[in-house]
Symmetry: C2
Subunit: 281 residues, 2 copies
């Protein structure tokens, strides 16, 4: 099992903090440097043992990092990776945890200076709760991480990152950035848009008569609007395509309901149940 | 606290079984008779202590019941209440737990023979898991029960049922059947339709890359298609109205996303978050 000498984590929130905790508790990294903009978050990360050192200076934080994991909001990742590449050791490896990939991987692919290599990652392990206080060393256990190497990615780097995430307990799936975005549009970004629309469309005076069904269906609408605006706009074309497919199906269900066709309505509901039950396994 | 001599429960699934358990454990009923069509469910209800006696004969089951609670699927409730009214003690009280109310209350209101009175109830305490094996004496604690008395309902009966549900730990809200259906269309029936459409619209080969967001948003799609077909069709006009409002809002979000308007998109997401956070309290 590879042990890293120094890993830098830019952004010590839920994901970054959990990576640090898992690296430390599993003995996978000797030093984990947390880099952030808020002293409060850095302090929590240090106290919880997610990092061994903290700094607000990027150049200082990544100076010795063989691997830097960029865990900042998706709209800032490209710039942050470029900044890291200017000051990290020559030839170091950089990855991220952003929920969209083409908008991040495409502009970075093969364009970094000083032999620095970037490969995109996306751990499917988010939550509407953020912050290093929520971080957990087991966050990635049994979860899926999508890795999006390109034609420029060396076999060695691909292996390093598969091993990195596997060692945190995750199952690694390899996809192109485009295919990742197409799938996640349907399985993550569209659900967020729908949850948010449903919550927004529910009249305020009726909120007192909501129960577990509404609560489950709208749970992710509690996520950070700024972050999700970046994700949805960053994967706009794929989200719009997934939304169009959804609206078409919903329109069919509306027509069947409107026509009072019990057997067809039941058939649609049964298809939903089949997919739900299949995914739950 | 009123103690009932005999309460009959028609349909000993999750809700009926939980009513029985709560009545028994709280000492609210001396006898609880479970009536059902399947010996297996009746056996489980008896073994778990949810009922003190079981029968498959309706006339025998309700013969001494001061109160009968009809817990069968919504499409069957009207017929079941009429059958109960023919064989229960003269002047006995009957209620139900159906998720729709106007389609049940309107045809029954003031039409029952032998002085039998019906008042509609709806405990907002469902689950995608059914059966008496899942029943819990605490299912109604802190939950809301909507009671839908009409102009024909006596003050005494209204009080009896408010007390009945309050004694099980619930908060009772009084609404007309029409208003109940209008609200629940938005807070329960529409969420189910959307969860089901989202699950059905997610391509099967992409189900492996779903995470907690998709799982939460689609959870209720695992519900019984037959039951939900009855609920959606039984409250068709109100569900279509709520769906139209939702589609309109979703269309606005689509346009904003399509136009790349970050600040407006964030404003919609923020509205969703406000409603979600308000309901969670």
């Amino acid at each position: 099992m590879k042990t890293w000498e120094t890993v830098a984590i830019l952004g010590v929130g839920l994901i970054g903090g959990s990576i640090g905790l898992a690296l430390r508790r599993r003995g996978l990294a000797r030093k984990v440097v947390g880099i952030g903009r808020r002293t409060a978050s850095l302090k929590v990360a240090l106290e919880r043992g997610a990092v061994t050192a903290t700094t607000m200076e990027l150049a200082q934080g990544v100076a010795e990092a063989e691997l830097t994991v960029v865990c900042t909001p998706v709209g800032e990742i490209v710039n942050h990776v470029r900044q890291v590449a200017l000051v990290c050791p020559s030839g170091a490896l950089v990855t991220d945890v952003g929920s969209i990939k083409a908008a991040i991987v495409d502009p970075l692919d093969g364009t970094l200076p000083r032999g620095v290599r970037f490969v995109g990652s996306h751990p499917l392990a988010g939550s509407e709760k953020g912050g290093p206080g929520e971080a957990s060393q087991t966050l990635f256990e049994g979860k899926t991480v999508v890795l999006t190497p390109t034609g420029q990615t060396s076999e060695a780097d691909r292996r390093l990152l598969v091993e990195f995430w596997s060692n945190l307990g995750a199952r690694v799936v390899i996809e192109t950035a485009e295919r990742h975005d197409q799938i996640l549009a349907a399985t993550s970004h569209l659900p967020h848009l729908l949850a948010s629309a449903l919550a927004a469309a529910t009249p305020e005076e009726q909120l007192a008569l909501t129960a577990t069904g509404w609560a489950d269906t709208t749970r992710i609408a509690a996520g950070d609007p700024e972050l999700w605006q970046q994700i949805l706009l960053g994967n706009r074309e794929q989200v719009l395509a997934a939304l169009a497919r959804f609206e078409s199906l919903l329109g069919q269900m509306r027509d069947v309901l409107s026509a009072g066709d019990a057997s067809m309505l039941k058939a649609y509901l049964a298809q939903g149940k089949r997919h739900r039950d299949a995914a739950a396994n």
